[in-house]
């Protein structure tokens, strides 16, 4: 018992002061990619050819990156002869609309809060049921980690529950395999309305590395109405947490904050080894 008490003191207080304090991500972290259109060379499609998931399209020298498909592998940046693509340390990228994940210039339009009547229901108490539908266990792991003492999800009133009947919505990972389609639909039906659907990770948004496999469904989008998209492969825990808190209106972006974050993002580009 004494040892347990000593350990308690030695292990210390470990909960991060999110969202108030600055976050400290590793230098090599790959967040939102930015394209410097001025550097882009005419006729060059190296980036889109290199992309494993078809996340990049080049049309008349304009490069568009779909964060919903992006694996953040930076194969595009490595193949770009003009160094026009860089991965910033910007971890905030969850969006309410699928189209908002397609970037042409600058940073994504971040998720807006739920409409007021729904937000009043869930703003201070949100219960989610997680369903892994072909996920590789990386998204699942980084969702799970939110319940550790580091992130302490419970302090925001958010909790993952065991039964869909106790839930206000689903957080779905994986490309939705054919073999999980029925179980996912049944789980969705078991959630009492109004209910939210959160697609977490490239697989759940677009199919990720499994895009166009006959064994999977290119994500949740065609099967269920999605309220929040959280990009990443897997998304960083802070990306997930930021998305959830924005959805609940607990973090709000003011225009000047957004502009400041663009400046910050531009000055902390990740160098690729």
């Amino acid at each position: 018992m004494l040892k347990a008490v000593i350990a308690r003191f030695a292990q210390g207080y470990r909960t991060i002061r999110f969202p108030d304090a600055d976050v400290n991500l590793p230098d090599r972290f790959r967040g939102v990619p930015l394209v410097d259109g001025a550097k882009c060379r005419a006729g060059c499609e190296n980036c889109s050819n290199a992309c494993p998931t078809g996340a990049i399209s080049v049309l008349q020298n304009r490069v568009r990156i779909d964060l919903g498909r992006c694996l953040f592998c930076a194969d595009c940046a490595r193949e770009c002869p003009a160094n026009a693509i860089s991965f910033t340390k910007e971890y905030r990228m969850a969006a309410r609309k699928r189209a908002d994940l397609v970037l042409e210039t600058g940073l994504p339009v971040l998720a807006a809060a739920l409409q007021e009547n729904v937000r009043r229901l869930y703003g201070r108490s949100l219960r989610l049921r997680q369903v892994s539908a072909g996920g590789c266990n990386a998204c699942e792991a980084d969702v799970n980690v939110l319940s550790t003492i580091v992130f302490d999800l419970g302090r925001f009133g958010i909790q993952f529950v065991a039964s869909p009947r106790h839930a206000d919505g689903l957080l779905i990972t994986g490309p939705v395999t054919e073999n999980m389609k029925l179980a996912l639909q049944k789980t969705y039906e078991a959630v009492p309305p109004p209910k939210l659907v959160i697609a977490c990770g490239a697989c759940a948004i677009s199919g990720g590395p499994y895009i166009d496999h006959t064994e999977a469904h290119n994500g949740v989008g065609d099967l269920l109405p999605v309220d929040l998209y959280i990009p990443g492969c897997p998304p960083h825990p802070l990306t997930i947490l930021d998305g959830l808190l924005r959805l609940l209106g607990r973090i709000k972006s003011h225009p000047d904050q957004q502009a400041a974050s663009v400046r910050r993002a531009n000055t902390s580009k990740t160098s690729l080894g």
Binding site: D27, G134, N137, N144, T177, M180
Partner: protein, 517 residues
């Protein structure tokens, strides 16, 4: 076993397809069964359809080619042999060799070939056969395949009842279906049906490598990104005759052991949580993340995405980063040591761990269990020791074993491995070789095969790559350690209380997506 003695292969070395001994099926079956009886282990057994692969003598009317990979841990030898099937059925190997049971079910499902006399021939992943119109269960190509829709072993009796759990479980966990036959609280039998995570990885690999290939391995089992990507890299490097620089080998070893540290630490915390001992559960939840963040220091990703690539690693380290890694490793290890020792010092934890989920060594041996679960039964079985490749040829890690074969044994092995992995990383960081971290990895040799084994944190990862005339993958077989071990979990539950299932399950912590592919 003269046939095996005549033909050795090495882990991570290519061999010409024409050099692989091809024997008649009865000889093949006999060699596999007798070798396993003599102490070899069936590492892989898989089918390959007839393709444009020359160098193999595909007789007239060949339906399927079978390959078996056998390994002998004590001698450290690895062998491969093949046979050709000319009919859509063959006498099953399983009755004489238990280790083949899941492999033969897989062969039946993938290629529509029936192993006659298999004692429990059921689908593995619930998908259509890869050969249109040929199905081992005679289903039509339009038939709907329902995952988990198959016979389950049933115990009958007035007081016997059945409990069905999943595929959606009460936690943030992957899907699987568990069917318990119970008498009161006591579990008489557990049967596990998987396949819910099946996303067609092996089929998608054929014709590669291409730009998506490495991403399949990074997401094959997300918590084993480094392990599976390392096996893939070693396979293609062997096929391309690529020499990986020493510094890259060392950095790969560091990444693989960091992956082991993170997962073992997380598992010890989760095991503590499952017996209601919250201090260790809380501490290890945080500490697991600290190890993941060390991997992110190396490559930006907590799971090691993008770190390994054929030819070496994509990121180098400088003195500052090495210093930071050593500092963090020491701090984190100190806290893990304290959190883990609380487990061993708390009698209520020990009482719940000891004698729960016991797997006898002869059962583990018969099923060919690998990794932590095998070493917890006293089996001296570790790829890093038995078939070393990469850095493990130069830096040896002692094999960690326990004798009890229960939850306690599996926890203890994890703790021993945490200590040894931490020492290994310290040593590697202190003596990193100089030089480049990558070499060019060119075209793959045609008509060749390679077996790449890696000791992932769960156990032995086996990749077998076979190239066609053009140096593309004609077949890429992946065997995740979970493929061997799920049956071990079922055996561990025999005569246990059903309420101990979460604890037993966590003590194995097997992969669903790695099994389902």
């Amino acid at each position: 076993m003269s046939l095996l003695d005549d033909f050795h292969i090495k882990n991570g070395r290519k061999t010409g397809l024409s050099g692989i001994p091809t024997v008649r099926f009865d000889e093949f079956s006999r060699v596999v069964a007798e070798s396993v009886r003599a102490g070899y282990r069936l590492v892989a057994l898989f089918g390959m359809p007839r393709t444009d692969v020359s160098g193999v003598d595909s007789g007239p009317g060949e339906v399927l080619r079978l390959f078996a990979v056998l390994g002998h841990e004590v001698r450290g030898t690895l062998h491969i042999l093949g046979t050709s099937l000319s009919r859509t059925s063959y006498p099953a190997i399983t009755p004489a060799c238990t280790q083949a049971h899941m492999f033969e079910r897989e062969i039946a499902e993938q290629w529509g070939v029936v192993p006659e006399g298999h004692p429990w021939l059921k689908p593995v992943r619930f998908h259509m056969s890869h050969v249109p119109g040929r199905d081992a269960w005679g289903r039509s190509s339009r038939a709907e395949i329902v995952p988990g829709g198959c016979d389950f072993f049933r115990v009958k009796g007035e007081e016997v009842h059945e409990v069905a759990v999943g595929p959606v479980h009460a936690g943030i966990i992957e899907p699987g279906h568990f069917r318990f036959q119970c008498h009161g609280e006591q579990v008489l039998h557990l049967e596990i049906a998987l396949g819910y995570q099946h996303r067609g990885v092996e089929s998608a690999l054929v014709g590669g490598p291409d730009k998506r290939t490495i991403h399949y391995f990074q997401t094959l089992a997300g918590d084993t990104t480094v392990g599976h990507t390392l096996a893939y890299c070693e396979a293609v490097e062997a096929l391309a005759d690529c020499r990986v620089p020493a510094r890259a080998h060392a950095l790969r070893g560091i990444a693989l052991e960091l992956e082991r540290l993170a997962n073992h630490t997380g598992d010890l915390g989760a095991l503590a949580g499952d017996v209601g001992y919250l201090p260790t559960a809380s501490y290890c939840g945080r500490l697991r993340g600290d190890f993941l963040n060390m991997t992110a220091l190396l490559c930006g990703s907590r799971f090691g995405r993008g770190l390994l690539q054929p030819g070496g690693v994509a990121f180098d380290v400088d003195d500052g980063l090495v210093g930071e890694l050593r500092r963090r490793l020491d701090l984190t290890f100190r806290d893990v040591e304290q959190a883990t020792n609380l487990l061993w010092n708390t009698s209520s934890v020990r009482a719940r761990f000891e004698n729960t989920g016991h797997v006898p060594p002869d059962v583990a041996e018969a099923l060919g269990i690998v990794g932590v679960a095998a070493r917890a039964c006293g089996l001296n079985r570790d790829v890093r020791h038995d078939f070393p490749s990469g850095i493990y040829r130069f830096a040896h890690i002692p094999v960690s074993t326990a004798q009890t074969g229960d939850v306690f044994g599996r926890s203890l092995v994890r703790w021993l491995e945490i200590q040894r992995s931490a020492n290994f990383i310290r040593e590697q960081l202190a003596s990193l070789p100089s030089g480049p971290v990558g070499a060019r990895c060119g075209e793959l040799a045609p008509n060749s095969a390679v077996v790449a084994l890696v000791e992932g944190w769960r156990g032995e990862i086996c990749h077998v790559a076979i190239t066609d005339d053009k140096g593309r993958f004609a077949r890429y077989k992946v065997v995740d350690p979970s493929f061997h071990n799920w049956t071990g979990l079922a055996m561990a539950m025999r005569n246990q209380q059903i309420s101990d299932f979460p604890l037993c399950n966590k003590s194995f912590n097997l992969s669903y997506c790695g099994f389902d592919l």
